[in-house]
């Protein structure tokens, strides 16, 4: 296990593309999180001009809701696509450079190869989650009043939910990259599917007459998004009647993991049988 991770780290640590894309991910993440607070509350201010009893500002960066809000921003599909692209590049590189063949010839088993990539996905997901937790923690401390501080870790379980989101989404990317083996094609198809095709599909399936039993929520990318579906903005509830989630649901967490497990199973099956 540790040996495989050591090998993978050698492949990654001096790879510029990896650092550039990861840097972009964090840049967008930080910008997104900071801009969100600004734009949402200026929107509330605007609205308050027209109504007699003003809404209070949304306390995005306050404990304990900050855990839910930050993980929501961090798991928006437009942002998640960046680490997914990294994973696609890392797996398809093995095919375009034919280094997968070299690894096998040198004495890595096919199962170990799969395991090494899953370890990379796991560790990257874990590290991003940890960085997010640390960032959220300090952002929360800087903004929260004493009342909120008492409930500091109340919603930290959302960080676990975010880990599940990230890990599953990266496994989806790995799955596609492994099957297509071509970097550009995989990135194009994955992006197209996650950002356009599935949202359209979701919308069509959501038309009640067409699909009364609500299967739309089980679409793979949507199942990931659903884990932390909304930020905790009470205004959404009050104003639009949206049923804003207040905690993670076990089922929502299980669905993307089930998808990931099936995909890993298919990769295992293909890898064990196919010529390389």
């Amino acid at each position: 296990m540790v040996k495989l991770l050591k090998i993978e780290l050698k492949k990654i640590l001096t790879y510029k593309v990896f650092w550039i894309l990861m840097g972009l991910y964090f840049l967008f993440l930080v910008l997104g999180i900071l801009l969100a607070g600004f734009t949402i509350n200026s929107w509330v201010d605007n609205m308050n001009k027209h109504i007699p009893i003003p809404f209070p500002h949304i306390r995005i960066y306050f404990f304990p809701d900050i855990w839910q809000n930050i993980t929501f921003f961090a798991s928006i599909r437009y942002i998640l696509i960046l680490p997914a692209t990294v994973i696609i590049i890392l797996i398809t590189n093995e095919f375009t450079n034919k280094t997968i063949r070299q690894n096998i010839v040198n004495g890595m088993s096919r199962q170990e190869f799969l395991l090494s990539k899953l370890e990379v996905i796991f560790v990257i997901s874990l590290l991003i989650t940890i960085i997010l937790i640390i960032g959220t923690f300090f952002l929360g401390i800087a903004n929260t009043d004493s009342q909120g501080m008492a409930m500091m870790f109340k919603k930290i379980s959302f960080a676990g939910g975010f880990f599940i989101q990230l890990f599953s989404f990266l496994v989806f990317a790995f799955f596609l990259g492994f099957l297509l083996r071509n970097t550009g094609l995989s990135i194009a198809i994955f992006t197209l599917y996650a950002l356009i095709i599935e949202p359209v599909l979701y919308f069509i399936l959501k038309i009640p007459k067409l699909q009364p039993n609500n299967v739309s929520q089980f679409l793979p990318v949507n199942s990931v998004i659903r884990v932390v579906e909304y930020p905790y903005f009470p205004i959404l509830k009050n104003l639009m009647g949206l049923n804003v989630q207040e905690h993670l649901s076990l089922l929502d967490c299980a669905v993307p993991l089930i998808y990931a497990t099936i995909m890993i199973g298919i990769v295992y099956w293909v890898l064990s049988r196919k010529d390389l």
Partner: protein, 298 residues
């Protein structure tokens, strides 16, 4: 003799093409074993099966007397197809990955880089290497950690004359240490210069195998004629080194087992009362001989 590799009837089909067709080969420790055959004869597919890159349809094989595993592959160094490394990593980093996989110490990395003359460029990215250097890095990777077996697929393909000479010297040097070598090549000349044993492949089948000196022995060919061609045929077939005779227009083409001096044949025939009106020596190149072997058996 210690058995290194035993192939029992492996076959592989790609769609409708039968790439390997019931192949049996035994290779013992210390042999320099050549897989000789034209392009498409199944050499690379066979090596790919032996290294777990390609799944064989039928048949089995054993490395070191055991069924193949990742552990057996760690004892094998191989250069198959083009050199495959991470373009953005240096030679040292690429070889350290190999050392990690093979469970070999990093000290070996320096040794093989010295051996293949890449030491001065060891910290440059693989991307910046010339083709010859890439090929040498592949050899360095194969030699890492003193493998028990070295597998080489067309090792001199695409190299310049100097590179070819260096490569052959390197192979000989490794062979002298007692390393078993399996070398696939379509060049008869190469197999004859380097190998001790050979299996000739055609269309995925083994035509024959054995020691190089036996299999690839070049029979000598003389062109003779006399006034009585019938009597000449009878008498010449009594020669101890005679193998076969073919009529070519108004002459006989006579094949002999081993190298033979025309004068000696002339003397032999003269003693039997035959006076030759024509005698000339025909040299066949090794390549011609090889092609004939393939043609006779296809």
């Amino acid at each position: 003799m210690e058995k290194v590799l035993s192939i029992q009837g492996i076959s592989k089909k790609y769609g409708r093409i039968q790439a390997v067709n019931g192949l049996f080969i035994e290779i013992n420790k210390g042999q320099v074993f050549g897989l000789l055959g034209p392009n498409g004869s199944g050499k690379t597919t066979t090596l790919s099966i032996l290294l777990d890159l390609v799944r064989n349809d039928t048949g089995t094989f054993e490395w070191f007397g055991k069924s193949p595993s990742k552990e057996s592959r760690k004892r094998i160094g191989s250069v198959i197809e083009s050199p495959n490394f991470f373009p953005y990593l240096s030679a040292v980093k690429n070889l350290k990955i190999v050392a990690d996989i093979k469970d070999k110490p990093y000290d070996d990395v320096e040794d093989v880089l010295q051996l293949t003359g890449l030491y001065d460029r060891r910290n440059d990215r693989f991307r910046t290497y010339s083709f010859g250097m890439k090929q040498r890095l592949a050899v360095a990777s194969a030699l890492l950690g003193n493998p028990d077996v070295l597998i080489l697929d067309e090792p001199t393909n695409g190299l310049d004359p100097q590179g070819i000479a260096q490569m052959r010297n390197l192979i000989k040097m490794v062979a002298e240490k007692g390393t078993t070598i399996i070398l696939a090549s379509h060049l008869l000349d190469e197999v004859q210069k380097i190998c001790t044993h050979v299996a000739v492949l055609s269309k995925g089948r083994k035509l024959f195998d054995g020691e190089v000196s036996d299999v690839l022995a070049v029979s000598e060919l003389l062109e003779i004629a006399s006034t009585d061609m019938v009597q000449l045929q009878k008498v010449v077939s009594l020669h101890p080194d005679f193998t076969s005779i073919v009529r070519s227009e108004d002459k006989w083409l006579v094949y002999f087992k081993s190298q033979i001096r025309p004068a000696e044949v002339n003397e032999f025939l003269f003693k039997q009362g035959i006076v030759l009106t024509h005698l000339s020596e025909r040299k066949r190149t090794l390549e011609q001989h090889f092609l004939e072997l393939l043609r006779d058996n296809s």
